[in-house]
């Protein structure tokens, strides 16, 4: 009996330990691998999910063989925090006002426009809130709120979530909350998961076009609203001041703004979707 008990207890403890260990979401150690310098690029989950990095990172590493790039994909808010704590060397994010504040607070040297893509409002084909026929983006959001159609928010303080809150504000609708509005869901997760949830719940969500196109075969969602001026999404690049690999950050900064880097961005998307996903606009 005692032996069985001891065995059982050890099993329990072993399993509770297994349960407690969580996979590390990110690991900010940047050890040089061989004679290469590892450069940490903090960016957003939506950029990661779009597949753009699968094009530009190998191209950068081919042009600059002295560096390897580690991408840390989080929300814009967290990416900026990683910059503040110098856990990242260079940032590629999309929340212009926050980026400018980041630089003016001395955390980065310079912010430059890199490219833009656009947001689209996606929803079920049946479009229960009549978003397609709304006169404007503001009217579209109003009709979603009025009709209490399911809407899935990122809810994670990401650039996309911030954009969504600005759109509610512009529509003159107090930002809904899951507590007060049963139709408003908040996933607290990345764009890919949020799109999946919207698809399952037959709801609307705001997404960047690239992530939506890369996933649309797996989703029962269509674009119900696009092209409104409010839906442009500008990306900026910033070298983190005083980062461990600040020089490497600067190399990446210069490369992505060069005509070569910009051309790769322009071409991305044609092969797979027949349209440009990110429009380069570095000056």
């Amino acid at each position: 009996m005692r032996r069985a008990t001891a065995f059982a207890l050890i099993t329990v403890l072993a399993f509770s330990m297994v349960g407690c260990s969580k996979p590390g979401d990110r690991d900010s150690s940047s050890t040089p691998t061989g004679d290469k310098t590892e450069l940490v690029l903090a960016s957003t989950t939506s950029t990661q999910d779009s597949g753009l990095f699968d094009e530009i990172i190998p191209a950068f590493q081919a042009d600059e063989p002295g560096y390897t790039v580690k991408v840390v994909a989080v929300g814009t808010g967290e990416a900026l925090k990683l910059g503040e704590s110098k856990d990242a060397d260079v940032l590629l994010v999309h929340s212009k006002a926050d980026e400018e504040a980041f630089v003016s607070n001395g955390f980065g040297f310079e912010r430059r426009d890199v490219m833009y893509n656009d947001f689209v409002l996606v929803g079920p084909e049946s479009d229960p809130a009549g978003v397609r026929s709304a006169a404007s983006m503001a009217a579209a959001l109003k009709s979603i709120a009025k009709g209490a159609a399911p809407f899935v928010s990122r809810g994670d303080d990401s650039g996309t979530h911030k954009k969504e809150r600005r759109l509610w504000a512009a529509a003159g609708v107090a930002t809904p909350t899951p507590q007060a509005q049963g139709w408003y869901l908040s996933s607290g997760q990345g764009m890919g998961e949020t799109l999946k949830i919207a698809s399952e719940k037959a709801g609307y969500t705001l997404t960047d076009r690239a992530t939506f196109l890369s996933m649309k075969d797996a989703l029962d969602l269509v674009v119900v609203r696009e092209g409104d001026p409010d839906l442009i999404n500008q990306y900026g690049v910033i070298v983190v001041a005083g980062a461990r690999n600040q020089v490497a950050g600067q190399v990446f900064f210069d490369w992505i703004l060069s005509s070569k880097g910009q051309k790769i961005i322009l071409d991305y998307g044609y092969a797979k979707y027949g349209q440009t996903l990110f429009t380069p606009n570095a000056r």
């Binding site: 032996r3 069985a4 509770s16 998961e193 399952e200 719940k201």
Partner: protein
Amino acid sequence: MQIFADALRDGWTMLSSGAVDVWIIVATSLRVSGVAVAIALVVGLPVGVVLGAGRFIGRRVALVVFNAGMGLPPVFVGLVVAMTLSRRGPLGDLSLLYTTTAMVIAQAVIATPIVAAITAAAVAAVPRELRLQARSLGAPWWRVGLLTLSEARVGLLAAVAGGFGQIISEVGAVQMVGGNLAGDTRVMTTAIVQFTRMGRYGEALALALVLMAIVVFVNVALVSMQTSADRYEGGRR
């Protein structure tokens, strides 16, 4: 260490403010994992008794299968449940993906082999003579089963604690099938992941400590029940 001090302070502020959201998250965790463990017991206990006490061909193979099932990767369970419940999946018409029901299903699947395997180990440790004697005295099969379970009760507590501790700490499957929806399917583990991604370490640490406290409490309760059971047996001898 400043980061921990700051996080502890922020976390304490959140917990002590009595913000309803936090306790909804904790309550959802307890409810989902509690129901899942109850289901795992209903299914796993009889299976464990048969595996532990039964004599049948293929028992060894079955034991290996259930012991291996204890290590069933939760993400695998999450993936299969998500695909099954997805709108395009075989049970898509039920619209269950991203609900607490889906989370209960996934957690029950994870916990059942744990409950069955620990029960089997506990039941196997009960002397066979006891059952033979009971049967020779004319006890029906279900009485023999109950008697065996009562002799193995400490091991059964371990089964409950083991299953519960595993699933309440699990993050992969509940994230995949629950979706971490605020006020609905958000549980402690998925909220910790979210807060960490958002750099809100205070809230993440506070919830992680609540989770630790629950797991420690379950194990302490188990150990104290075990010691009192041992004392009782000692007195009887």
